[in-house]
């Protein structure tokens, strides 16, 4: 394998290939398409040739931790060569089509369409149109049924595979769950001769659901070696500024806080923690390997990581002035967590009460009370932080107008504390997103609030918000599309394809999202936006998430009764169904 380093072909102007250089001369941020990152791997002649993609622009995709894991493990621990391609920005996509230049990989500038296996990480529903855009730009037939011979096998993975129906016809197969323990089997399948043999072998890998080929749902795979493994120690280091421009260490996988709206909290069970020694050693190595000056301890709820205080302290001691961050803080332990930060790294942070009243927080199993909230806000500003963002959702099941006004009341309370303690320096903002019911959660069959209700409730928050507090809202129209796809059944793919053909792309970007395309697509396909296209959970026909239906029913009943369910890491087992055999929680002593 060639390692990255200096000595690239010189100044002759013959690199990259002429047809690509002509495009790069005409687009914004050409570095998105040129690769050249530190720790890039190139394995000439290696087979199978795998391309890994994240269906968004480079700066987003290169920060995705899952792709870093796959890239590292496939290149370093299997005979395969893994390269990368991200979704071209519309200016580049237009030029590629006009010039008939197919999508290329960053490592070798080879056509993506000539690879053996094309793997997509699917993070959320609003990137689905980009998947079709990338297939089209690569010259790969959109529908799996139309592929043959030399066409790559297209495999989807990631959290959005929780409901694969809206993309089912475009993928040859989906991998459900955590793939780390099955990469060798997938690579072995791709080493067979012929597309049909490869597909047969791939479909036999545990966790793989091949539409039209698999007899039943695929069981979500859980990486039982997580606690005994290192995080990625040779990550690709982007040369353009990425959204996460720091060392990222996954300290824990899974979360058992049990928030009833949270798909990730259900999907990544059970909780597995990495030992502090391993985390600290990885931080030391990664600081050397990347040259970054900030470390982020990644997980769904890093404050719950059993070694968080020790890890924060020891990592800060690795380098003078080193910044260490956590993606979010739990309100009920914020004051304790905040003490772990150095005085010179206190900027702004986010607290997520999620709902405006105690009743609704109990219904979603968030559980924090207003005293804890006030204490967390007080600790934030007393600790020297100058910015605080509060994150809420509207449209939760059982929500009333009073719950929504409660958001403004909590913001008002935080604003008072900011004025008293922050003495003019404290900035407070509120972010309000729209709740979208997701598959494999207790709320999976609850109704979506709908555009009219969400807009009216946004206005309620706007009208009641305290002066001087900036309130941001997510685009309701985008949430309507997300809600349609999140619980779309067989046939929803026609909506995605029609919207893409009408020009939908980068729907997660406000400057590119256009609701008219989705409305026109809905009219053409007879699908009602915002409504689930099925009454039963069709996703269970494709995906067995290992979560017990009785658990969901019980959680839904408890939600309606306003009853809390304990976190099973330090309370009673809620019988979610995940822990069985060798699969169970792995907690630090």
């Amino acid at each position: 394998m060639k390692s990255s380093g200096p000595g690239f072909p010189g100044l002759s102007g013959d690199w990259p290939p002429d047809e690509i250089a002509r495009l790069l001369a005409r687009v914004t941020r050409p570095g998105r398409y040129a690769g050249g990152e530190f720790n890039t791997r190139v394995k000439p002649g290696a087979r199978p040739r795998i391309v890994l993609s994240y269906p968004d622009v480079y700066e987003i995709g290169v920060s995705n931790p899952a792709l870093q894991i796959l890239y590292s493990q496939l290149n370093d621990a299997t005979p395969a060569s893994a390269e990368r391609a991200y979704c071209p920005w519309p200016d580049m996509a237009g030029l590629m089509r006009a010039g008939d230049v197919p999508l290329w990989t960053l490592e070798t500038f080879s056509p993506v369409g000539e690879c053996d296996l094309w793997g997509f990480t699917l993070p959320h529903e609003l990137c689905y149109a980009n998947v079709l855009e990338m297939l089209d730009l690569a010259g790969v037939p959109l529908h799996a049924a139309e592929r043959d011979g030399e066409d790559p096998i297209v495999l989807g993975g990631g959290p959005a595979v929780a409901n694969p129906w809206p993309l089912a016809p475009y993928f040859d197969a989906f991998f459900v769950g955590e793939v780390e323990g099955h990469l060798e089997a997938i690579v072995a399948a791709m080493q067979l001769d012929g597309r049909e043999k490869r597909l047969q072998a791939l479909a036999a890998v545990p966790g793989v659901w091949a539409p039209g080929r698999s007899a039943g749902p695929a069981q979500r795979q859980i990486f039982t070696g997580f606690s005994d493994s290192d995080p990625v120690l040779r990550p690709v280091v982007p040369v353009l500024e990425a959204v996460h421009d720091r060392v990222v260490i996954e300290v824990m996988r899974g979360c058992t806080a049990g928030c009833r709206f949270c798909q990730a909290g259900m999907w990544y069970r059970p909780v597995r923690e990495r030992p502090v020694d391993r985390v600290v050693a990885a931080a030391d190595r990664l600081l050397d390997e990347t040259g970054c000056d900030e470390v982020s301890l990644l997980s769904l709820s890093s404050c719950d990581y059993g070694g968080v205080a020790e890890a924060l302290t020891r990592i800060r001691q690795l380098r003078p002035g080193l910044r260490v961050s956590l993606p979010s803080l739990r309100i009920d332990s914020a004051a304790e967590s905040l003490a772990g930060f150095a005085a010179d790294q206190r900027g702004s942070l986010t607290l997520a009460p999620e709902a405006g009243t105690q009743r609704l927080r109990d219904a979603i199993n968030k559980g924090v009370d207003e005293d804890q909230f006030d204490e967390a806000v007080r600790a934030t500003f007393q600790g020297g932080f100058t910015g605080l963002k509060l994150y809420f959702m509207i449209g939760l099941p059982g929500e009333t107008d009073d719950d929504v006004r409660g958001i403004a009341r909590m913001a008002g309370s935080a604003a008072r504390l900011a004025r008293e303690i922050g003495r003019g320096r404290a900035r407070l903002s509120v972010s309000v997103s729209s709740y979208v019911p997701k598959a494999h959660t207790p709320f999976e069959l609850e109704p979506f609030a709908g555009a009219e209700t969400l807009r009216r409730r946004q206005q309620l928050v706007r009208d009641a918000a305290p002066r001087g507090v900036r309130v941001n809202f997510h685009d309701v129209a985008a949430s309507v599309v997300e809600a349609t796809l999140a619980r779309g059944g067989p046939g929803t793919d026609r909506l995605v394809e029609e919207a893409w053909r009408l020009g939908a792309h980068f729907d997660g970007w406000s400057e590119h999202f256009d609701m008219r395309r989705w409305e026109d697509a809905a009219a053409a396909t007879g699908i009602t936006l915002g409504e689930p296209t099925v009454s039963a959970p069709a996703w269970r026909d494709a995906v067995d998430a290992r979560l017990d239906e009785d658990f969901f029913a019980d959680e839904l009943a408890r939600s309606r009764d306003g009853e809390l369910t304990e976190d099973c890491r330090d309370g009673a087992c809620a019988a979610c169904g995940v822990c069985a055999g060798e699969i169970g929680m792995e907690l630090l002593a």
């Binding site: 200096p6 941020r29 990152e37 040369v239 500024e241 040259g291």
Partner: protein
């Protein structure tokens, strides 16, 4: 204070970096190589480094400079240069280091020689270049958020040499850097492309050489030492 004037080449994928991206690459390369950079004072210390002549996005450079302040006691050694080279991303290549003490004048560019390819009708491009070389004034407007500035490209860019190549022409020219600024290569190419009626999308832009005042070479005696590969 000790400053390292690091000469480097930028080519391959690194040619598509912006000025800020290139600064970050220098910073990260030093960090990976284990060579510390001095930090500024204040709540959010920043590494003290600068690139005295930004290289346009898409351009390769054969002899670029970065001025990096290192803490006292950091030795300029062959091992340090080797470590920087090993820690560099593809297309970014440290070539040498010159160490200067505080008070040594910072490198100032006087002129730089460029070459690029311009696609289109070679005859039309060559004719446009001849027109440029013969004209006395070539006034262009530079629009920025601060306002509109008129500049005469002839004050900053000397004669252009054009050679026909397959599918277009290869252009060579020199930009002069004056106390009131400089023309950008793209501004010159825009003018020639406009006159030639071709798309102003140059490719393969290369900065072949730079003439520095107080830079490399010809150091004031005794004030600095150099290390090259």
């Amino acid at each position: 204070m000790t400053f390292w004037i690091v000469s480097f080449a930028r080519s391959g994928p690194a040619r598509y970096l912006s000025h800020l991206d290139t600064s970050r690459v220098v910073q990260r390369t030093f960090a990976r190589a284990g060579v510390p950079i001095a930090l500024s004072q204040g709540m959010r210390p920043k590494p003290r480094l600068s690139l005295p002549l930004p290289l346009p996005v898409g351009a390769a450079g054969a002899g670029e400079l970065a001025v990096v302040e290192v803490p006292e006691g950091v030795a300029m050694t062959t091992d340090a240069l080797k470590a920087l080279r090993a820690a560099s991303p593809p297309g970014f290549e440290p070539l040498g280091i010159a160490e200067v003490r505080e008070g040594h004048p910072r490198p100032q560019p006087l002129a730089a020689e460029y070459a690029c390819l311009l696609d289109g009708d070679a005859g039309a491009i060559v004719a446009a270049v001849e027109r440029y070389n013969e004209t006395e004034n070539a006034i262009r407007e530079r629009v920025s958020p601060k306002g509109t500035r008129r500049l005469d490209l002839k004050d900053y860019a000397g004669d252009v040499v054009a050679t026909s190549v397959e599918g277009g022409a290869r252009l060579g020219f020199t930009i002069r850097y004056r106390s009131d600024g400089a023309a950008r290569p793209q501004e010159l190419i825009d003018l020639i492309a406009e006159w030639a009626e071709v798309e102003p999308a140059m490719r393969g832009l290369e900065r072949l050489s730079i003439v520095w005042d107080h830079g490399l070479p010809s150091p004031p005696a005794g004030q600095r030492k150099e290390l090259t590969t």
